[in-house]
């Protein structure tokens, strides 16, 4: 059996956790055929965005028929407990609970600086819709009270969560979406990741008849510029306004990865779409969005400037 040691500690750098995810994907591609163990035993602290990515990339390979074993028996007991409490790797599944029980579980996280890795149901059924609505409301309420957010920062965080969950539901063509978050109160920001292993931006455009969009880069560009897959001029605001609100408004960091292309943007780094043509080739199967959201806004911040 092949073995990949997961990094021990990523510190607080947003970019390091993304680099580690790229490294993991390349390591997996380089392994000879057969089962692979992702070994978390030496880990002390990992960013939720990396953990979310690692969890889903393992699931993706498993779908392709390649056994991936996640060894989460950590020597560091604090990190071991963290992985257990965050329901890593199976994920917290509100669909298996009543709304009241789901809220009760999330309320149990009030003293914590994180929420569990959450697996939310997708689809248009009343049941799935109701679970997502309840979950979004519970997370928004949790973040509001836990972090004492109010006013426009609370609205902004709620807006970003809602847009991401709705986008995954509208476009991934999967049964489940995933989110994972950690609060860094003393540092003044929230890290949150949303992901699916569905059809990605490119698949979403192509399955809705947009055959001229033929690369992942072109699909991300079209989404970023507000081209709705439904060709409805009143749709397609979510991606654009979320990036603008987060980066231009709050001064946060935004990373979107779909297929072999990604978009990264923060206050100091101009928005650019990059396509990966490295060896081995790697690609995100679906869409992954990672955000670092500041919890304090400047005095002249006005959310509505960024929502168009």
């Amino acid at each position: 059996m092949q073995h990949i040691a997961i990094p021990q500690d990523q510190g607080f750098s947003f970019g390091h956790s993304i680099n580690d995810l790229f490294r993991l994907m390349m390591d997996l591609e380089r392994q000879p055929e057969g089962a692979v163990t992702l070994d978390f035993s030496q880990c002390r602290f990992l960013n939720p965005i990396f953990l979310l990515g690692a969890r889903l990339i393992a699931q993706h390979y498993q779908r392709l028929g390649r056994p991936i074993i996640l060894n989460t028996q950590c020597h560091n007991r604090f990190f071991h407990e963290y992985l257990q409490l965050t329901h890593f790797t199976e994920g917290f599944q509100p669909a298996t609970l009543s709304a009241e029980a789901c809220n009760e579980v999330l309320q149990g996280y009030y003293p914590k600086t994180y929420l569990p890795l959450t697996v939310f149901p997708l689809g248009l059924s009343d049941e799935a819709t109701s679970i997502r609505e309840n979950l979004q409301a519970a997370i928004a309420s949790h973040i509001k009270t836990r972090l004492s957010l109010s006013g426009q920062v609370y609205e902004s965080v709620s807006y970003l969560i809602t847009e991401m969950v709705n986008n995954i539901n509208d476009h991934s063509r999967q049964q489940h979406g995933y989110l994972f978050t950690q609060f860094y109160s003393s540092k003044g920001y929230i890290d949150i990741g949303f992901a699916d292993i569905g059809i990605g931006f490119l698949g979403s455009y192509q399955l809705t008849g947009h055959s001229t969009i033929s690369t992942h880069e072109a699909a991300i560009r079209a989404g970023r510029l507000g081209q709705s897959t439904k060709d409805d001029p009143q749709r397609g605001f979510g991606f654009r306004t979320s990036r603008s609100l987060l980066v231009d408004g709050l001064g946060g960091k935004y990373f979107l990865f779909s297929g072999d292309a990604f978009l990264y943007n923060d206050k100091e780094t101009p928005e650019t779409i990059r396509t990966l043509k490295i060896n081995p080739l790697i690609a995100w199967p679906g869409a992954l969005v990672a955000m670092r959201i500041p919890m304090i806004a400047s005095q002249d911040f006005n959310i509505y400037t960024y929502l168009e």
Binding site: G15, G151, R224
Partner: protein
């Protein structure tokens, strides 16, 4: 004659959005659809129908867009209105209403780079 007038008159009804949807935050288009459906049913027996948004602390763009779209169809022929908006909800609704009259597409140029070297990728993210 008096009986006929009285039986035709409909009394007002208020739908409290917070308790009807069971939440203080409005996230999805489906929530807007359920609210409008309830309004539609209420209008069979009551007029005017008021939607009271008191206690709602967040409204998503999706909810606002769907709500305005459906409400526009109903307001033409029926007597219903809404109240209890906080200033922030009013702004969201106003902003979405204004954007409904313009195209969502932007024409901004976004630079594009092809990454062929692994080390370049790592260096980029080490810096952010």
């Amino acid at each position: 004659m008096l009986f006929c007038v009285i039986s035709y008159m409909k009394i007002a009804r208020t739908i409290f959005v917070c308790s009807f949807l069971g939440t203080a935050s409005l996230h999805t288009r489906e929530q807007a659809q359920r609210l409008i459906q309830e309004t539609e049913i209420a209008m069979l027996h009551h007029q005017p129908v008021w939607l009271d948004f008191t206690g709602i602390d967040f409204m998503s763009r999706s909810f606002a867009d769907e709500f305005l779209k459906l409400a526009a169809l109903w307001k033409r022929d029926h007597q219903f209105d809404w109240l209890g908006f906080s200033p922030t909800l009013a702004k969201m609704l106003d902003m979405v209403a204004k954007s409904r009259s313009k195209q969502s597409n932007s024409s901004k140029e976004i630079p594009f780079v092809t990454v062929t070297d692994e080390s370049v990728l790592y260096r980029f993210f080490e810096a952010v």
